[in-house]
């Protein structure tokens, strides 16, 4: 990537819509150098921020230590990091990745395609951006509406335990 030293500070925020409650334990991020250097902010760590639905308030912020997963197309890298203590209810949030000179490749519209430029750590929008930032959240889904395979296993387990207890009790009563 090419560029000059920044004249202003910016923090792109991307919309995150969750249909289930989740516990986030890690993330993967597509990033890369901005100034043509082999080193860049991504491998030195960055601040991972979650804002509320209208990006007026930071509800989670954590400094993420990262490792390189793979070097990918067009001088970009995929890096990963661990996240601790983050549980989100289903709903809408805005997500930011911030460090001094952290390159964030702009992908063509993905899952939601909503991206804005903001003043760092304030959520104050400067202007909308095109495309989307490439990232993944890793963790567990903690509430899934409707029946699932896991829920079926739990129901079966409870039914089997109850049946076993009931049969033993009946056998004792008959003896």
């Amino acid at each position: 990537m090419l560029g000059l030293r920044p004249a202003a500070q910016d923090e792109p925020l991307t919309l995150l819509s969750l249909s289930n409650s989740v516990s986030v334990t890690g993330l993967n991020l597509a990033t890369g150098p901005i100034f043509g250097d082999s080193t860049y902010a991504g491998l030195g760590g960055f601040t991972f921020e979650i804002y509320n639905s209208n990006h007026s308030q930071i509800i989670f912020s954590q400094l993420i230590s990262t490792t390189l997963v793979a070097t990918t197309a067009n001088n970009t890298d995929i890096i990963s990091g661990k996240v601790s203590g983050l549980s989100l209810l289903s709903g809408t949030y805005w997500v930011g990745f911030y460090a001094d000179v952290l390159g964030l490749p702009g992908f063509l519209p993905g899952a939601n395609g909503l991206l804005i430029e903001t003043t760092p750590h304030t959520g104050i929008e400067q202007f909308p951006l095109e495309g989307n930032i490439g990232y993944q959240l890793v963790g567990t889904v903690s509430a899934v509406p409707g029946p699932t395979v896991g829920a079926g296993a739990y129901s079966f387990a409870l039914a089997a335990i109850f049946l076993g207890w009931f049969k033993r009790r009946r056998a004792r009563q008959l003896a």
């Binding site: 390159g103 990232y135 567990t140």
Partner: protein, 55 residues
């Protein structure tokens, strides 16, 4: 005997449920493939946005 068998089955079912619940997987992706960057725009935190990338 039958009760023991059922209890064993119950234990297995619980273990399957626990392992499914605790498995860490990708729960959200903003784009389908992180490795497939092809658009020549890049954004930047703490610098002027929309840098042209060196393709």
């Amino acid at each position: 005997m039958r009760a023991r068998f059922l209890a064993t089955l119950a234990g297995i079912a619980i273990l399957i449920g626990i392992s499914r619940a605790n498995a860490d997987t990708a729960i959200y992706s903003s784009i389908p493939d992180l490795s497939a960057f092809s658009w020549n725009n890049a954004y930047c935190s703490d610098c002027v946005p929309r840098r042209r990338m060196n393709l």
